[in-house]
């Protein structure tokens, strides 16, 4: 088993049910955990859409959704209901298999990525010993979904969008991977919980000073590109391609892409927080003596993630979009060499123990 943990609440729940009810209990436990994650996925997705709209409104001198429910909180639920009720349209000459497979790839990719993220001390579905690597691997499955959607729609705009997305994600995966590696050099582990434990005394962004800071900047840029957000939203670049790869999707097909995009943004933020800002650890341990530790961990985790998400939204609502050649130039000529040098720098610092 690659399940290696001591205080994993989800694992404890499954173990408890196994002791009580045998194999059936174990399966029930898996179902419960899956249900919790699915619920979180939907709620977080809807909430992030709402937050995005409010933040956008904040930047654009508007109010944003404020009519349905208190502070417009139910607006996105109303929108989701509308999307559910909508007719599924699309081109007739689409490649049916790829067209429909697309969102079945995008959603699990985002959902599985979520499963290794430590929301708090011991609140993590799987504490894999290769956690960070697992997230990078799973997130690249999502690209396939977008490529399938772009190809299967049989629409030139979708195809261009899908191809752009492939180019972009494969390129920026490298930089994101290098940035992650830089931190892993310091942590000496790929396991999420271990990475966080290492930051008990000092967060990695402080501990690794210069190379960690560079890695953080690279990771944020690459992460924005991977989650298809402005200034890297070329796959759907609405001024050029209409809606890019999801032009031909309607109703829930479209909503799945939309949700997955927001969850990807959440995952990117969560990984950044885990790697650089100590995950669920309280700053200076200010809440360490209080009861309900896992709850406080979750509070700190979500506070930090909200900050990161706000940063990504800030980018989106202020920057213009890059052109495809500029996007690739930025990656291959700047980010990648800098990232490689940064790893060497970090290796030297770690070897001679010059980190703080």
């Amino acid at each position: 088993m690659i399940l290696t943990n001591t205080t994993n609440y989800f694992a404890q729940l499954i173990d408890y049910l196994f002791e009580q009810m045998g194999l059936g209990g174990q399966i029930l436990g898996y179902v419960i955990v899956a249900a919790i994650y699915l619920t979180f996925f939907a709620v977080a997705g809807l909430l992030l859409v709402y937050v995005e709209r409010r933040v956008a409104a904040f930047f654009q001198l508007r109010l944003g959704p404020n009519r349905v429910g208190p502070w417009g909180l139910l607006q996105t639920i109303a929108d989701a209901l509308k999307l559910l009720a909508k007719e599924i349209t699309g081109t007739e000459r689409k490649d049916k298999l790829l067209y429909h497979a697309a969102y079945f790839l995008v959603i699990p990719a985002a959902l599985i990525g979520l499963s290794v993220i430590p929301f708090s001390n011991g609140v993590q579905a799987y504490d894999l010993n290769i956690g960070v690597f697992f997230i990078s691997a799973v997130s690249s499955v999502g690209v396939l979904g977008i490529l399938f959607g772009g190809w299967g729609s049989n629409n030139k705009y979708s195809l261009i969008g899908g191809m752009r997305s492939g180019l972009q994600m494969i390129s920026y995966e490298l930089s994101a991977g290098l940035a992650i590696l830089t931190i892993i050099l310091m942590a000496g582990s790929l396991q999420m919980s271990e990475i966080i434990n290492q930051q008990k005394d000092l967060w990695f962004i402080v501990k690794g000073h210069i190379p960690a800071l560079i890695a953080f900047v690279i990771f944020v840029i690459a992460g924005t590109a991977e989650s298809n957000r402005t200034p890297f939203d070329l796959p759907e670049g609405e001024a050029e391609l209409g809606a890019g790869f999801h032009s031909e999707y309607s109703g829930m097909g479209f909503a799945y892409f939309f949700l997955a995009e927001f969850i990807n943004m959440f995952i990117i933020s969560a990984v950044a927080v885990t790697l650089f800002f100590g995950g669920w650890l309280a700053p200076f341990g200010i809440t360490d003596s209080l009861p309900w530790q896992p709850l406080w961990g979750a509070v700190w985790f979500f506070v930090k993630v909200s900050g990161m998400i706000f940063l990504l939204m800030w980018f989106r609502w202020t920057f213009p979009r890059l052109r495809i050649d500029q996007l690739l130039t930025l990656e291959w000529k700047y980010l990648l060499p800098v990232g490689l040098l940064n790893i060497v720098l970090m290796a030297i610092l770690v070897y001679y123990n010059i980190i703080l």
Partner: protein
């Protein structure tokens, strides 16, 4: 079952056609561009027009001269007042009417306000076309102030129909001067913010600089006018060449950039807004008080002959050409619209660029499709 054999030796890249429009966010209306593409590189552009052709020129032949003005609103709806003014000037020229000084000043102020409103809308949409969505809201907030000024005076916000042959429809609203004086410092204070948000952005600069170059010669040979030609170094401002209304009384610069690229056209428009503010500022303090309407007959009949009036709209050189056979409606009306010629220049400019650049170039041309089709 049929078996499909795939000989990879026969696989080769080929050019394909991409229909941009008539329903596409970048064309800002129902314009269709047939793009010949090689991957993402645009090899050829072929505009397909006529989706919003409403035969305005033909309709004019069945309308009286006072009614024609109301049709011109619907051509270039973003500089509606300047269109109205052009027709009114042409008719006045034919009838040899001298309009009161007050009318001239009002028309000029209104025209410059229209120009600013149009440029503001262009700026907002320009940002959207390169992916910066926030610019739209900023521009609309400030454009709203102009629309309110217009609404107070002439009751309409967009299609004003404010000029009539021999004068203007209504007198200025008592609040007019106050409102305009509030607006001038406001716009002066927000334009540096615009620059911070978009102009100074490194991504934006990279997207604009050296893209879509229109040479001096090409600008002339395609008949480009307005900010598009001025961005290529062509001096073509009708307001300078043949001042109409009160424009001969004011002192202003013609903004000319010589680079001919997207950024030059962008800068021309940004600077023109400030220059328009200068014009308004020079006129707003002493608007003469000698009536708003010259004496005209209830039924206007133009003498036999041909009459041409050219004005500078926000998009460039608008020519109104009226052929009269002495009846109450014109024999033939021709509008020389700036957008049509400017679109022509796109064919030269867009070739060899990426699709995203073509969108940006189109945006700097700032055409209004009803103006192209009429």
């Amino acid at each position: 079952m049929d078996t499909v054999t795939l000989n990879t030796g026969d696989l080769k890249s080929q050019e394909y056609f991409l229909n941009m429009g008539p329903q596409h966010p970048a064309t800002h209306g129902v314009l269709r561009l047939i793009l010949t593409m090689d991957g993402e590189v645009v090899k050829n552009i072929e505009p397909d027009l006529g989706f919003i052709h409403r035969s305005i020129e033909k309709q004019c032949e069945y309308e009286g001269y006072k009614q024609i003005i109301h049709l011109t609103d619907r051509m270039d709806y973003l500089s509606a007042h300047i269109n109205n003014e052009a027709v009114a000037l042409a008719i006045e020229q034919a009838l040899e009417i001298e309009v009161p000084e007050r009318v001239k000043v009002i028309r000029t102020i209104m025209g410059e306000l229209t120009r600013i409103a149009s440029h503001l809308l262009w700026w907002g949409v320009m940002g959207m076309d390169v992916g910066a969505l926030t610019t739209f809201m900023y521009a609309f907030r400030d454009r709203e102030m102009i629309n309110d000024i217009m609404e107070e005076t002439c009751g309409a916000r967009l299609t004003m129909s404010y000029s009539t042959p021999g004068g203007v429809m209504f007198d200025l609203h008592p609040n007019f001067v106050k409102r305009v004086k509030e607006f001038i410092p406001h716009l002066r204070s927000v334009i540096p913010k615009y620059d911070e948000l978009l102009t100074g952005n490194v991504i934006f600069q990279k997207r604009m600089k050296g893209i879509g170059i229109l040479s001096y010669e090409d600008a002339i040979s395609h008949g480009a006018s307005g900010p598009v030609a001025r961005g290529s170094g062509v001096s073509c401002d009708r307001r300078k060449i043949a001042p109409y209304s009160a424009l001969d009384k004011v002192d202003f610069k013609e903004i000319i950039y010589t680079e001919g690229d997207n950024l030059a056209r962008y800068n021309v428009r940004m600077k023109e807004m400030l220059e328009s503010l200068n014009i308004i500022e020079q006129l707003i303090d002493n608007i003469p008080d000698d009536g708003i309407q010259a004496k005209t007959k209830a039924l206007i009949k133009l003498p036999k002959g041909e009459f041409l009036q050219r004005v500078e709209t926000a998009r460039g050189d608008l020519g109104v050409y009226i052929v009269s056979d002495g009846k109450k409606n014109p024999y033939r009306v021709k509008f020389r619209s700036p957008g049509f010629s400017n679109l022509n220049a796109l064919i030269e400019m867009g070739k060899g660029h990426l699709i995203a650049d073509v969108v940006a170039i189109m945006s700097t041309l700032d055409f209004v499709v009803p103006d192209i089709d009429r």
